[in-house]
Amino acid sequence: MLRSTRHITRHAARALVTIRYPGAATAPYTSSLNLEHAEAVPPMSCFRIMNERGKLLPGAVDYGAEVVGKEKAVDLFKCMLRLNEMDVTLLQAQRQGRIAFYMSTFGEEAAVIGSAAALRDDDTIFAQYREHGVLLYRGMNYDFFCNQCCGNVLDSAKGRQMPMHFGSNEKHFHTISSPLATQIPHAVGAAYSLKMQGSKQAVAVFFGEGAASEGDFAAAINMAAVMDLGVLFLCRNNGYAISTRSTEQYRGDGIARRAVGYGVAALRVDGNDIWATMRAVEEARKFSKENDKPALLELMTYRTSHHSTSDDSARYRSEDEMSMYAQSASPIDRLRKYLVARQWWDVGEEEEFRNEQRQQVINALTKAETAPKPGVDTMFDDVYACKPAHLVAQEKEVTERLRK
């Protein structure tokens, strides 16, 4: 009692001040009561450089001509075509029962390839599952993808995961796992580690607008903000999480606006405009590395493909809707129009190029499906750094049974 009285007396001697609550120390006071309505905030604009016809928007920097240049622009276009051909071929291969599963990137080629092109090749990537184009851009050949899809001895992950779960240490691309959004906090941890090491590498993490509903997204973006970590959050907002439309996923103004609420710099980008995507990723990367702050880009796109080979999207969206987007939104068509207008690309060459690529994918797949599978003894490796006794015993049981 005595102690508490003394305590009050000591503090009573100080003049009263206007208090600042720790949770919002810069908020001004007001006597007017206003619920802030989400609808009152205008939607965040979507940054684009070229329109559906491949024409520059008024006032837009001609990023393709002034920064990228002809040679690289054509390379990027070819990379998108290669991704497209690989997807078409492997999708058919799945239908023929040659591989167990596949997920294509149709309609989202610019968002993936554009992001990859604007990052450094040694930047660390944490991907969701529809970003295998990053590995293609970084130089992985069709053999790599086909070996993983077939789970053969040449698959670096020893046939342990379903098709599409790619990973490459050499390409700084952490191995994909199926659970959604789990990779986002990993990217934040990786960014902390690289910051401690004084590394120049950046960390970028891909996820979809559906995955952003998971707790791991909230966990990760908040941690990156609080800890001042230059993580690049790359959200592919493709309108659908399997059949669930983005309108059933969230009520607010998309994912970019949500980032601002976390204190994270954000920009909405036309993800089907490869120049806008590249310019935005480049800027965001620079901002993040220079300031040790995260940034989020919401790459607006449309999933023209089914979710996966196990999905039939005609059951939940109209033919009309799909054909409209396929016709007007195609990022490949948009870049082609841009290139053709500058006489950087001869449409006559395209079919031959596509056929060549398709044949290469078929060859790679044929090789991959005939290559042997990893031995059953490898099944017990890599669970732990050193195989513990119970796994040694279980391995022995399997190998002895197979020897009989």
């Binding site: 944490f126 342990r160 240490n169 789990t182 990993h186 401690m196 791991d216 890599d382 732990y384």
Partner: protein
């Protein structure tokens, strides 16, 4: 990271060779005071790693200090760890090692573990704290689907072996549903994880250091009731206790009693009592590592005694005792003289006012011994 870890192992290995010598500290709590004093003196004289009296939370703190001092990449993070943590396990670490290496995180268990996985997968030794084991479940997915499979799913290309998740567990007298749980069985069902716990300050430090340096992700459960209650002599410097090994903490002939964590204290008391009053000799085995667990040590003991009692605080159904019971039955079928006794928490949410009746206390364990003997 592998090179860092192996460098540490090279530095540490001479100390590991000394563990037999320092391991004698483990026995202190079951020795008489006179014997304990003699043992303390002998350790001080013979080891270059002088022992001092610590309780369990200071032993954890000491382990963290050693880990941080011997590995520049090691970081300690979690809710409230910067000021020392709610159980004071990280006291003074920030002053010593700086705020880049000892830091608070937002209140988000799945974020803490996911962040730790990313750190570890990028070469940093990540020592995460989950404030109570009861709150680890938001991180369940990160632990089970991510940490446990990171190495396997990449064919060994990537791993998060540098991750250790420390978390206080178990009954504490007044914890009710959400400050008392022992969630080990959930994680022991997950290949790729290691689950480790400790019974006293000496094992806490040695096992925690081994867990931090182990190249697999480890969940390290700290029985919070022992943080202050358990005291013992602990070497000030560096030592490790091997993971995957159980320890026979009391030799006996008639009944093997297997437990871990705070339950060892109960089992040792029961062993003393039944020896004195009933001339029943109990062997007490501390499992220490719950995944992978030391089937051999337990089986050898049961082959000798012919009787097994397993005691744990977690609910009995599908508890780790069930797994031990099945394995022992397979390995020791012809040696068993009585049904295996599982004395564990009842299949209830951990109750607040009835904690004493819920727990596998002395009376229930003694009844179990008698049942095995009288069968």
């Amino acid at each position: 990271m592998n090179s860092i870890t192996s460098a540490i192992r090279r530095v540490v290995s001479p100390l590991r060779c000394n563990t037999d010598q320092v391991l004698r500290g483990c026995q202190f709590r079951s020795l008489s005071f006179a014997a304990q004093a003699a043992e303390e003196k002998s350790i001080e004289e013979t080891t270059p790693n002088p022992a001092v009296k610590m309780n369990l939370f200071t032993a954890v703190n000491s382990a963290l200090q050693v880990a941080l001092a011997t590995d520049d990449s090691a970081v300690v993070f979690g809710e409230d760890v910067a000021f020392g943590g709610v159980f004071r396990c990280s006291s003074d670490l920030q002053a010593q090692f700086g705020s880049e290496r000892i830091f608070n995180t937002p209140l988000c268990e799945q974020g803490i573990v996911g962040f730790g996985i990313g750190l570890a997968a990028s070469g940093t030794t990540a020592i995460a704290e989950i404030q109570f084991a009861d709150y680890i479940y938001p991180a369940f997915d990160q632990l089970v689907n991510e940490a446990a499979k990171y190495r396997y799913r990449s064919g060994g290309m990537f791993n998060c072996g540098g991750l250790t998740v420390r978390t206080p567990c178990g009954a504490v007298g007044h914890g009710g549903h959400y400050h008392s749980q022992s969630p080990e069985a959930y994680f022991c069902h997950t290949p790729g994880l290691r689950v480790v716990t400790c019974r006293d300050p000496f094992t806490a430090k040695g096992l925690l250091l081994a867990s931090i340096r182990e190249e697999d992700p480890v969940i390290f459960l700290e029985p919070k009731v022992l943080y202050r209650a358990s005291t013992g002599m602990v070497p000030e410097g560096d030592y490790e206790i091997d993971l995957g090994k159980a320890e026979v903490v009391r030799k006996g002939r008639d009944v093997t009693m297997v437990g871990w964590g705070a339950q060892i204290r109960v089992l040792l008391e029961v062993a003393e009592q039944v020896e004195k009053e009933l001339q029943v000799s109990c062997e007490v085995v501390d499992l220490q590592s719950l995944l992978p667990w030391d089937v051999d040590t337990v089986s050898k003991s049961v082959q000798k005694t012919g009787r097994l009692l397993i005691a744990h605080e977690a609910p009995v159904t599908s508890g780790l005792g069930s797994e031990i019971s099945a394995a022992v039955q397979e390995n020791c079928f012809l040696s068993l003289k009585a049904p295996i006794q599982r004395i564990a928490g009842y299949d209830l949410p951990f109750p607040f006012i009835h904690e004493k009746n819920y727990l596998p206390g002395k009376q229930r364990c003694t009844e179990g011994v008698l049942k095995a003997i009288d069968y």
